[in-house]
């Protein structure tokens, strides 16, 4: 349709205009611009505008991002299957911080993600006199040992424990929704195929099985392309 065709041009047009107003296009702008188009996942015009806003503003400072990277690497250490860098986990923190920074999400970036950094830094300072980024891995792990487990009932650490759970959730979700993470998990699918039941070797491992009566009525995949025809009683003939 005409309108859809015009969307892309309209959108580029408006960016173009604001960039000309800025008089010079920095390389950074160009990178950002490319970023919006890196994602091609069927957006409406309003959604594109929101993505552009999210992708072209900056929430965390570079040193905060480095801290997040450090935390993420300890929560999920790299191995031969994948690492948080290839999974884009730090970028996801930056994006979600802005994306969820609406009243509906209770200012997730400010109140949760940045708050987490502040609280973790505070603990590191109390214990080691420096921010998390300047701690050794062992020092950081000793902090995590007291805030990463749900069975620690220490009153003074409850906020840190809650915030750590969010960090852990973000790191793992970021990892397992990335290409490397999905390969690591081993998920198979999201591709054209023909489902013909649970593989025999898998069925054997469990306390359940197919009963003949049930599957005799299921689709015969060798006839999926034959045009369906019925008799007057609704019995399938083909």
């Amino acid at each position: 349709m005409k309108r859809r065709d015009s969307i892309k041009t309209m959108f580029l047009g408006s960016i173009g205009a604001s960039l000309t107003l800025n008089s010079c296009i920095t390389t950074e702008d160009k990178v950002m611009l490319d970023q919006v188009w890196k994602y091609n996942y069927g957006r409406t015009y309003e959604e594109l505008k929101w993505d552009y806003k999210v992708l072209t503003s900056k929430f965390f400072s570079d040193s905060e991002l480095k801290t997040i990277e450090k935390i993420a690497n300890i929560i999920l250490p790299p191995n031969e299957k994948g690492n948080i860098k290839d999974a884009g986990v730090v970028e996801l923190f930056e994006i979600i911080a802005k994306d969820f920074s609406t009243p509906a999400h209770d200012e997730y970036g400010e109140k949760v993600l940045r708050r987490g950094l502040n609280v973790f830094d505070k603990i590191c300072n109390e214990r080691f006199g420096v921010n998390l980024i300047d701690c050794s891995d062992d020092q950081i792990k000793s902090v995590f040992d007291s805030i990463a487990f749900n069975d620690n009932k220490d009153e003074g650490l409850q906020e840190a424990i809650r915030l750590f759970a969010v960090y852990r959730g973000m790191v793992l979700t970021g990892y397992f929704t990335s290409e490397v993470g999905i390969n690591d998990l081993g998920y198979k699918g999201n591709t054209p195929n023909v489902w013909d039941g649970v593989p025999d070797d898998v069925l054997k491992d469990y306390s359940v099985s197919y009963d003949e009566e049930w599957i005799s009525r299921c689709v015969d995949q060798s006839k999926r392309n034959d045009l369906a025809e019925w008799d007057d009683d609704g019995n399938l003939l083909t």
Binding site: M1, R3, R4, Y39, N40, Y41, G42, T44, E47, W50, V54, L55, I75, L76, P77, N79, L92, I95, I96, D99, F100, H105, A148, F149, A165, R168, G169, L172, T173, G174, F176, T177, S178, I182, L185, Y187, K188, G189, N190, T191, P192, N193, W195, G197, V198, D201, L203, S207, V208, S209, Y210, R217, C218, V219, D220, K223, R224, N225, A228, G234
Partner: protein, 571 residues
């Protein structure tokens, strides 16, 4: 204010292109009737790669599919959800109603669950059984021929079961159960709960040469680019556009049905969302299908001398008897399903097995039944995966939380070990549950908006309690552990907020008595002989089934009635 009027007079103007409107457009235009289809959202074709989300991976979205813009996630094919910018609604204090609106060609049928159930003989006459609510003025026999035609036209898989209130149809063969569904079958049978193949409008087999066959990507909620599942856009509207009898108006919000001084409809007025201008279309007949509450809103906003409190509202019943399906659900962890061998288990975009209502309410303390839907398996990861990576450790006396390499293994260990049981039940329609025009609020187009008032009663709470008792029994019988705490009276037995199950119906109920109903048995307004309603508004009661197959069968029946009126030259 400039108002642009069409010169041409259409035979029929259809408002809304979802399940009801798509079916009316197709049936009417196939018979040679000239139709204007007016849709408030943009053009949408599931096959268009520009808008497609099917087969996308989570990392193709910058937020990994999180639900910031679309409530059910970035890849869910709905333009609109519980809230729309600049189009508010509200609820009377102390009550709550959630209104899902999807504005696009095909409406909610682009992402619906495809559960396609016929209502049974009892469902049309439930008052005869328990004295509650009202009977429909039609019976199963009246609608059966249309269900039959619908099955063949659209395609639905299922099996013949010869159950009185779950009528069989012309079914395509169902897919084989997945592993977690075999566990469900085991648990349900042990609990004496009937279980059978589900009935979904997904093509497991070819029905014509225009549509492709399901290739099992598991994501009908994203809309199928080969038209393997039913959407009104791909299967009804787009094919009818090819016939040359339909003019499609998109991004066009209808605000009123226009009437002459005698109170008969002469057309509709709408606002073009792109240029903000007002338009008027002329038509001999107006067919409303904007969805139950949106249709009620249009009628209530169509005030004139002849219809001072809204078009067709002499009974004062428009908006009343609004009701939604009840819902409650529980997750179940199945230890036997830990550390699964991984294979492609996507299957169709919905369940392969389910449980229809299996008990007799005469022996229970609540009047109406429910069915059980099942979810689970090894689906594509989405935003949220791994959030509580080892929460289930608690069932083995192990620590939860932590950090480090072991978390990787935890996520893998528990992936695919949970199933979800969801009860979907019938509520009793009540006059006290309604939507009405809010005199104090307008949308960004200047049109008055809706206010809701909806409360469940003991009939529904007791039903939700029964659902939870059943879930626990099935959970243990399939070797699982029910998750979280069982909701109690204090938390209303975990019942859904009205509207949340998105089966809202009943706002222009059907009946023979013009004082007690809004439309007649052909879904025509009692008060106006050329306005029809073909969405779920005319439903007298929403059975323990999902509504859409019945919306479409009724729309087809009404359309054939309109065609016969044209032929008899009554119009």
């Amino acid at each position: 204010m400039e108002i642009i009027k069409s010169k041409e007079e259409y035979d029929v103007i259809v408002v809304g292109s979802g399940a009801g409107g798509g079916m009316a457009t197709k049936t009417l235009s196939d018979a040679g009737i000239k139709v204007a289809l007016v849709e408030s959202g943009p053009y949408f074709d599931p096959a268009d790669p520009e808008t497609q989300t099917q087969l996308k991976w989570p990392w193709e979205s910058p937020r990994r599919g999180a639900g910031t813009n679309r409530a059910f996630g970035d890849f869910h094919m709905s333009y609109g959800d519980w809230s729309l910018d600049g189009e508010p609604y509200s609820s009377v204090e102390g009550t709550d109603f959630k209104w899902w609106r999807s504005r696009m060609l095909g409406g909610r049928t682009n992402h619906w669950g495809r559960i396609s159930l016929r209502f049974g003989p009892k469902d049309f006459k439930s008052k005869d059984y328990d004295g509650l609510g009202e009977n429909w003025p039609i019976s199963y026999e009246d609608i059966k021929p249309y269900y039959d035609k619908l099955d063949k036209l659209v395609g639905v898989y299922g099996t013949k079961e010869n159950m009185f209130n779950e009528p069989d149809g012309f079914f395509l063969p169902p897919p084989k159960p997945r592993l977690h569904e075999l566990f469900y079958i085991k648990g349900a049978r042990k609990s004496n709960v009937k279980v059978m193949p589900s009935r979904l409008s997904i093509l497991t087999k070819r029905i014509n040469n225009e549509r492709g066959i399901c290739f099992y990507c598991g994501h009908c909620d994203r809309s199928c680019s080969v038209y393997g599942d039913f959407s009104s856009s791909s299967c009804l509207v787009i094919p009818s556009l090819k016939g040359g009898k339909v003019d499609l108006y998109v991004n066009s919000m209808v605000n009123e049905v226009i009437t002459d001084k005698n109170g008969r409809a002469t057309g509709v007025s709408f606002i073009n969302k792109e240029n903000g201008k007002d338009y008027k279309l002329k038509g001999k007949i107006v067919v409303l299908a904007a969805s139950a509450c949106a249709t009620a809103r249009i009628l209530l906003n169509s005030k004139s001398k002849a219809h001072p409190n809204g078009l067709g509202n002499s009974s004062n019943l428009i908006g009343k008897y609004l009701h939604d399906t009840t819902g409650a659900g529980r997750g179940v962890f199945i230890p036997e399903l830990m550390n699964r061998k991984i294979y492609n288990e996507d299957g169709v975009g919905g369940m392969h097995v389910y449980s229809p209502w299996w008990l007799d309410n005469k022996k229970l303390d609540f009047p109406r039944g429910y069915h059980i839907e099942i979810g689970g398996g090894m689906p594509m990861p989405q935003y949220g995966i791994g959030w509580n990576p080892n929460d289930f450790n608690k069932f083995f006396g192990l620590r939860t939380g932590g950090y480090g390499d072991s978390l990787r293994d935890d996520v893998k260990k528990y992936y695919g070990s949970t199933i979800y049981l969801m009860g979907r039940g019938e509520a009793i329609p009540l006059k006290e549950n309604y939507c009405e025009i809010d005199p104090n609020s307008k949308d960004k187009y200047g049109v008055p908006v809706l206010k809701f008032r909806y409360k469940w009663t003991d009939n529904e709470y007791k039903q939700a309690k029964h659902m939870h008792d059943t879930f626990e029994e099935i959970a243990y019988n399939l070797g699982g552990i029910p998750l979280g705490n069982k909701p109690t009276k204090k938390d209303n037995y975990g019942i859904s907020v009205p509207g949340e199950i998105i089966h809202e119906v009943g706002t222009t109920r059907m009946g023979n008595d013009p004082n007690k109903s809004v439309v007649n048995k052909y879904e025509r307004l009692h008060d106006v002989d050329n306005v029809y309603v073909v969405d779920a508004a005319p439903f007298v009661s929403q059975a323990d089934k999902n509504p859409t197959w019945t919306i479409m069968a009724l729309s087809m029946r009404t359309s054939e009635h309109i065609i016969s009126e044209f032929k008899k030259q009554n119009i």
